[in-house]
């Protein structure tokens, strides 16, 4: 858990930078503007933009990671949905958990999740990410991943096909459009 504490400290350091030094900027500590926008039609426009630019992290954790990589290749052309693989979590909107989460890997995965800028979404890809798969009841596997990440879409399969991942992205787009996703608090 030391990794997570370290991430929190780093985030606080980022927040404590004096933005008031920049001329022409105002600093507010309330969410009033953001909450007001969420009730208006502007949020629909924002969501339209967000759902059409779902960039995902190339975080291949297991054998499902091969399907994840293949989805990002030219053959499936996911760019027509606005889905682009990104190598840095700081550029990405969607974290795809594509394998079993071990006790040792969970802090690193949380760190990746914390590095992604909001709004962000999470997809569980494959049986291992959903339930542990064949590694369910292992001494080193973490079960119930939704306790740690707000998972929007589950994709069953061992491994699921690339089309299933594209389908998951389309479902996620529908959720975002309907304001039912867990990435944003409405």
């Amino acid at each position: 858990m030391d990794e997570i504490e370290q991430t929190n400290v780093e985030q606080n350091d980022v927040l404590n930078v004096g933005y008031t030094d920049v001329p022409g900027t105002m600093l507010t500590e309330s969410n009033a503007i953001c909450d007001f926008i969420k009730k208006t039609k502007i949020q629909d426009v924002l969501n339209w933009g967000r759902k059409n630019s779902l960039w995902f992290t190339v975080n291949a954790m297991g054998c499902c990671g091969v399907e994840l990589l293949a989805t990002g290749m030219a053959h499936y052309d996911t760019d027509r949905f606005g889905i682009i693989p990104r190598n840095s979590p700081r550029h990405a909107d969607v974290l795809i958990i594509s394998g079993y989460v071990t006790r040792k890997y969970l802090p690193a995965l949380k760190r990746i999740w914390d590095q992604m800028p909001a709004p962000k979404w999470c997809i569980c890809f494959g049986d291992c990410a959903i339930s542990g798969g064949p590694f369910y009841e292992s001494y080193s596997t973490r079960q119930n991943i939704e306790d740690y990440f707000p998972v929007d879409v589950y994709v069953p399969g061992c491994p699921p096909r690339c089309e299933a991942l594209i389908q998951a992205f389309v479902e996620l787009q529908k959720k975002i459009e309907a304001k039912k996703d867990k990435g944003t608090e409405y």
Partner: protein, 158 residues
């Protein structure tokens, strides 16, 4: 050298330390070794009998016999023979001399056996957990009486 002559060479050199030696097939030798002198036996195997390839080193837990076995599987490039040596250790305090001084690649094998079974290797250069996170250290998850398996039902299954 064939399997029988290797066994006679080993038992002739170490009559006290090697026991229960037998030929499993034409290319496999099984023997048990006293834990105190495993380094000398390995050094003799490597330098005099040209068994230069430590294929694997592992542990095995036998709760009914109250023993933990450390198994050395050693191959050779000169003889068509693979030796499986077993050292029996008491289960409550398994300690054995490290063979990193003879076979350098035993380093990570011994670290893994240490973290999974709790076999303490004396004079190991860097005996710390290899794969497991810190929170699992000291639980010895590959022992048969390990109880720490997760019992939470994954909610997605039901």
């Amino acid at each position: 050298m064939d399997a029988n002559s290797i066994i006679s060479s080993l038992t002739g050199k170490f009559p006290e330390d090697i026991y229960d030696a037998s030929v499993e097939s034409d290319i496999r030798i099984v023997a048990k070794v006293k834990p105190e002198n495993v380094v000398e036996v390995c050094r003799y195997l490597k330098e005099d009998l040209s068994f230069g390839h430590l294929c694997c080193e592992l542990g095995a837990d036998y709760p009914d016999r109250n023993e933990i076995e450390t198994v050395y599987i050693i191959g050779s490039y000169d003889h068509p023979v693979v030796i499986t040596m077993k050292a029996l250790l008491p289960r409550d305090n398994p300690e054995i001399e490290s063979i990193v001084a003879v076979y350098w690649n035993a380093n990570w094998y011994e670290r893994e056996t240490y973290e999974m079974y709790g076999v303490k290797y004396l004079n190991h250069p860097d005996l710390k957990p290899l794969l497991l996170p810190e929170e699992l250290h000291g639980e010895w998850p590959w022992r048969k009486d390990y109880k720490g398996f997760p019992n939470k039902t994954a909610r997605n299954l039901v």
